[in-house]
């Protein structure tokens, strides 16, 4: 699981061009969106949908659950694991 989270962080940095961040800067349980966390926005949410589709073959059919899934690296990893 921790390996998946590290991989996910690398993919997030790459997909969102977070050029000033390293894996160590992204905490597993920190919110990804909003001022408290990384400060990501709605375009980044779309990028996450693309990321899950292209790297893990997972499609998010219900946009309402996306908010929960994309809350943190922990929640994204849990979701990916649950789809295996």
């Amino acid at each position: 699981m921790s390996e998946l989270k590290e991989k996910l962080k690398t993919q997030i940095i790459e997909q969102l061009n977070l050029e000033d961040l390293t894996i160590a800067d992204i905490k597993n349980d920190s919110p990804l969106f909003g001022d408290e966390g990384l400060g990501l926005d709605s375009i980044d949410a779309l990028e996450f949908i693309v990321l899950l589709d292209s790297y893990y073959g997972i499609k998010i059919d219900d946009p309402a659950i996306a908010k929960e899934i994309f809350h943190s690296v922990d929640s994204m990893a849990d979701f990916i694991e649950s789809k295996k």
Binding site: Q15, L16, N17, L18, E19, D20, G39, D41, I43, L46, E47, I49, V50, D53, S54, G57, K59
Partner: protein
């Protein structure tokens, strides 16, 4: 007259915020790179990470011009020949290689030509007239004519700019589309324009864009005749032409300093503007004749000229 209140250029020269851009010019070589300012001074890091080189440099140059005049511009007119090539190439590569069914939104959103003017509008929080002109190597001329019309309509200040960026693929277009020995580069130049006199009292007197010219020299004569200016009154000519019927000592090849991008004549305007300030001469003509059998003519005038 349409006076230039501020010019900002980001090019392969050390041109950004220089008092005289001609002071530090070096001839372009294959290994020269775009000399960028610290973009974090102009764009928030959260937004900056999404911006390709052309968007970063255009926004920085546009903001410099807006800050110099303090009151908000009433129109934004941008010329770009090839638009946001980095994002276009990225988006096309994704279409070509993507394994899933969903495409990345950022490169798609930012791949259109009018992203530049649109982003400037968002960054300046300026929702006035906003136009993008894409007319190959005449894109500056078209955007300039639009800006002049905006000034004539009574808009006090207009933000005029051009931007084009190089990607490796452009080198594959040699020698069929681009000249074999050309050095493809990136660059942007923005101007704050107004009919109100600037401190330097230098501005655009006239501009003409000609498709299928009768001949470069013939068109120059006609252009100047219309303005009631004799050809020997021209103090300096900035051009990308190899041979022009002017004394060699007054002709400068701007492309030797800008490299090749289709709106590089704007850098020629910047060089001419700073030269007119330094020498107190009256007229500088910018002759842009590159490809597609077209010709752009721009005349700068210095009201403080002593001759």
């Amino acid at each position: 007259m349409y006076y230039i209140h501020k010019i900002a250029s980001i090019t392969h020269q050390d041109s950004f915020n220089q008092t005289d851009v001609n002071d530090s010019l070096v001839e372009i070589a294959e290994d020269t790179v775009l000399i960028s300012p610290d973009y974090k001074k102009y764009v928030l890091p959260a937004s900056l990470r999404r911006l390709s080189p052309i968007l970063r440099m255009a926004v920085a140059a546009a903001k410099e011009c807006q800050e110099a005049i303090t009151i908000p511009v009433e129109a934004i007119s941008v010329g770009t020949a090839l638009g946001c090539l980095t994002d276009t190439e990225k988006f096309l590569n994704v279409i070509n290689t993507v394994e899933g069914e969903i495409l990345s939104p950022t490169a798609f959103i930012q791949s259109t030509h009018n992203t530049i003017a649109g982003l400037i509008s968002l960054e300046l929080k300026n929702h006035s007239y906003n136009m993008t002109h894409t007319q190959n190597n005449l894109s500056l001329e078209m955007a300039l004519i639009d800006s002049m019309l905006c000034c004539d309509e009574g808009k006090e200040f207009v933000l005029l700019g051009v931007a084009d960026e190089a990607i490796d693929f452009l080198n594959k277009l040699k020698p069929i589309v681009l000249p074999e020995n050309s050095i493809v580069t990136s660059g942007t130049t923005f101007f704050a324009l107004s009919k109100k006199k600037s401190t330097a009292e230098i501005g655009f007197l006239a501009c003409n864009s000609i498709i299928k010219p009768k001949g470069v020299e013939v068109e120059i004569v006609l252009f100047l005749r219309e303005l009631k200016i004799e050809i020997n009154e021209i103090d300096r000519v900035y051009t990308n032409q190899n041979s022009l019927d002017f004394p060699k000592e007054i002709v400068v090849n701007y492309e030797a300093y800008s490299g090749l991008y289709f709106t590089a004549n704007a850098f020629g305007v910047h060089m001419a503007h700073d030269w007119l300030i330094k020498t107190a001469k009256k007229y500088a003509l910018i002759v842009n004749s590159g490809c597609n059998n077209s010709l752009g003519l721009i005349l700068l005038k210095n009201d403080k000229a002593q001759n």
